[in-house]
């Protein structure tokens, strides 16, 4: 039964390496994110002020890097768990497709947020 999954010993290495790289990126960014958006900032900010701050291109670049890294790290994490417990090839294909679809849907929503906010006039 295991011979069906011979290919995973090759393809998994790249996924594993990127899981580690995104881990380091996320560690740095998440600490920054939590310190500034959860600890330093408090209370309710005016919408206009928040939008104006989020329109900076550098901020958007960081947001997008954060989005891509988090989605990759999280969805590949689910995939690593699935590979450990699901051994039926058809189920693997179904779950893999679902992960890809959810990934692109979330990437779409996240990117849309960044683009829409940048194009707002406040």
């Amino acid at each position: 039964m295991m011979k069906n999954f011979k290919e995973s010993s090759k393809t998994g290495a790249v996924l594993w390496l990127f899981q580690r790289i995104t881990a380091v990126i996320l560690f740095v960014m998440l600490v920054y994110h939590f310190v500034f958006y959860h600890f330093v900032s408090k209370g309710i900010y005016p919408w206009k002020e928040v939008v104006a701050k989020m329109q900076s291109p550098w901020f958007n670049l960081l947001q997008f890097t954060f989005l891509i890294s988090a989605l990759y790290h999280g969805l590949n994490g689910i995939w690593m768990v699935v590979e450990d417990y699901i051994h039926c090839k058809i189920w693997r294909m179904i779950i893999f497709s679902a992960i890809i679809i959810v990934g692109f849907a979330l990437l779409f929503v996240g990117t849309l947020t960044i683009i829409k906010i940048s194009s707002l006039n406040v």
Binding site: A23, H38, F39, L71, I78, Y85, V102, G110
Partner: protein, 125 residues
């Protein structure tokens, strides 16, 4: 003979590394669920002033602040055990992985207390 893996084999209950591994998985699954919600909720910023204010009022409620304390804890566990995983994989950390676990989790615990204190202090009752 090929043997089906159980979710968490009882033979490994006695090892620190096994607990780190299973808790890393569980916290990771929780975090991807939270990330999905987060991406979706942040989209409400684009709907305009009124929706944004409604959402932020909820995010500042005592209930959400308490959920945030839990979230901060899960993030810290996953992040600091994640550092251990990277050290084990790239820097021969397997020789000291148990020590690493306790040292890093201690740091994470201190940061959890400090962060939770700030989050709770922000609550406007």
């Amino acid at each position: 003979m090929y043997k089906r893996t159980t979710f968490f084999d009882p033979n490994y209950y006695k090892f620190v590394g096994s607990w780190a591994w299973i808790l890393h998985r569980l916290s990771g699954l929780g975090l991807i669920f939270y990330l999905s919600l987060h991406i979706w909720v942040i989209n409400s910023l684009t709907y305009g002033d009124e929706t944004f204010t409604k959402v932020t009022v909820f995010l500042n409620s005592p209930l959400f602040k308490l959920l945030e304390v839990g979230l901060w804890g899960i993030i810290l566990f996953h992040a600091f055990n994640g550092i251990r995983v990277v050290i084990v994989d790239f820097f021969k950390g397997s020789l000291i992985h148990k020590k690493l676990f306790f040292v890093l989790i201690f740091i994470a615990f201190v940061l959890w207390i400090a962060g939770s204190y700030m989050l709770i202090a922000h609550i406007q009752w």
